[in-house]
Symmetry: C2
Subunit: 363 residues, 2 copies
């Protein structure tokens, strides 16, 4: 059997970091089914060339032929361009990848300005909120303009993302327990915890619904009795994440808040170039580094490939290949803690290729 | 002549920090018109007692009798409560206080975990975005729910907040210039700068309108030729603020993004208990600490009064009393850098009263 992976580098450094992830997947040998990689098109550059940011062909092949996929990063025009719409947002919707799971954990990397103890997972709702992109604009008689956007929150989407968050918290609790029993050093001492992020003091209806739907997941069963539940207003969440990141375990948030707090968390652990994600649905999963297309460093072979490589590991683990995923993560951690091969975002001088090869050596 | 100030402590620690600000204002002597303070009601506790979070009487007196006002902080119920709506959001709207100006600057305080060079002003639009609170909810046939909120962005509100941001940047540039000429140490070397915060890669219509309206302010005149203009997507803004806060001067943002990034900036300078704001319109101004009502420490006389005291200074300076405002700020900075009187949020053991008295002594 083979593992068919759609590869969508899209724009900018996506085209440099996705091949790095591919090399790592190829190096895993018989611990996973032999992967085959199907290159697929999407992105701003694709739009400029052929008029479609997300070609139908790409969606068709993903749905009909692929077991899973990897996405790079997209650029976006600074002005509104007729017909252009973010392909990553569209892909999440087309494939019903309703959860964006973003683990953010710190590794002690030599020579960083600061080190924050942090090991959290941000579970971001991925299909609604302001990302439904229902917007309109009107010109008033006096020539001034009024634009409106609709923010949608449903009980269905909020419940399923809530369930995902509690399941992840449960699993993390079990993993920590096992690690402790096998004599490993685990700094998290309490129960697993889910923090619901919202702004229901202002958006009492929409964020109220999100909040209640997630709360009902825990309250409706005894399965999560061992998982604590807390809440943070999104502004306060950003504040506390920076003051005491070590108090968070799993955070669940509507789409836009999830987007913002995961970039915040990335700053804590040293670089956006380290933070992986998967876009997960019930039938499909797509790995994606949290960083953007970084046009300023594009084409220089200095982008950090680790976010993509870790996204590949996360993807494998969600497909059930837990052991090869751990091998990748261990190799990445080894390279980071040694600190000999670091890209410029971490204060190093190594290239994308150097870092990738260092990881391959430690696999 | 007198200065009539409406005082709205509202909930929680608002009732402890607003009296501290009042004491400082009273101590300024003849450098300002003699202040008289009119206590006014609002808040969650007021709602519970008398059924209105913002009594009509409060708005009437503010409009008809007061020259300016100070607001404390509000608590909010964790569940939606019929008839309750945030009084601070309502006040901003009623008095057309369209700008929330939040200066965030670091002072070297002894024994803090970290020190980040930071001296920025966040200019937050204060009347629209999701804060218009147009929300609705429907139950589908299958019992599931769908909630919708409207996000409103107008060219009018975006232009006036943009203008405010450029004016502030211009003034800051002049002040830095003067400080340099008088031999003071000024670390900001370049031109003044306005960073527009948005998410137009997803919200191309609403955030597109915000972005264009602000850009047009600079592009429509040569008055701001000496002010640079940059942009950051809101997620990236949070990331960069934590990585290199020293690169920001003035940031202008729609309401919700402004709310989130100002809490983020507060974490950078040590505590939310340090960050002041004014809600400013063309005819009225209201000082307000950025922190919330902190029910966990309410009534213990340990809340940091500095955010409120600095808000009073900001208020004075916006009314044209620049010298007494500077005196307050200098006294606050002296107390912070000495580090003898610090409240627990800064790792100290002093009470609200101790810190207030230390500041009064140095006035
Ligand atoms: C590129 C952009 C549309 C995207 C988002 O906002 O979801 C990005 O910021 C992300 O976090 O994946
Ligand atoms: C209390 C709340 C409504 C308020 C806001 O979101 O504006 C607060 O967070 C603030 O920043 O002043």
């Amino acid at each position: 059997t083979a593992l068919k992976l759609g590869m969508i580098p899209a724009d900018g450094i996506g085209k440099e970091v996705l091949p790095a992830a591919q090399r790592v997947l190829e190096a895993l040998g018989s611990s996973i089914p032999k992967p085959t990689f199907i290159p697929l098109k999407a992105g701003w550059e694709e739009f400029q060339a052929n008029g479609k940011a997300l070609p139908d062909e790409t969606v068709k092949i993903l749905k009909e032929e692929c077991d899973a996929a990897m996405f790079g990063s997209v650029s976006s025009p600074s002005h509104k361009v007729a017909g252009y719409s973010s392909p990553i947002v569209a892909l999440r919707k087309h494939l019903d990848l309703y959860a964006n799971v973003r683990p953010v954990s710190s590794v002690p990397i030599p020579n960083q300005k600061s080190y924050h103890q942090c090991d959290m997972v941000i579970v971001r709702e991925n299909t609604e909120c302001l990302y439904i992109k229902k917007e309109e604009i009107k010109t008033n008689d006096d020539g001034s303009k009024i634009a409106l956007a609709t923010r949608q929150i449903t009980s269905r989407a909020s419940s399923r993302i809530g369930k995902m968050a509690f399941e992840i918290a449960l699993r993390r609790g079990q993993e920590r327990q096992q690690a402790k029993e096998s004599g490993k050093d685990v700094w998290w001492n309490g129960e697993p915890k889910v923090t619901i992020v919202h702004k229901s003091n202002v958006l009492s209806v929409t964020d109220g619904l999100f909040r209640e739907s997630v709360r009902a997941i825990k309250e409706g069963t005894d399965r999560y009795d061992g998982v604590k539940m807390e809440e943070q207003l999104v502004d306060s969440m950003v504040y506390r994440m920076f003051r005491e990141p070590e108090i968070f375990d799993v955070a669940v948030a509507p789409n836009l808040y999830g987007d913002i707090i995961s970039d915040g968390a990335a700053a804590l652990v040293g670089s956006l170039g380290l933070v992986p994600s998967i876009n997960a649905g019930d039938d499909f999963v797509m790995g994606e580094p949290v960083h953007g297309s970084a046009p300023d460093i594009e084409g220089q072979n200095i982008a950090n490939p680790i976010a993509s490589i870790r996204s590949a590991a996360l993807l494998l683990s969600s497909l059930g290949y837990v052991e090869p995923a751990s091998r990748i993560n261990a190799a990445v951690d080894a390279v980071l803690t040694e600190g000999q091969y670091l890209t410029p975002d971490l204060g190093g001088k190594s290239s994308t290729t150097d870092v990738t090869e260092a990881i391959l050596k430690r696999l």
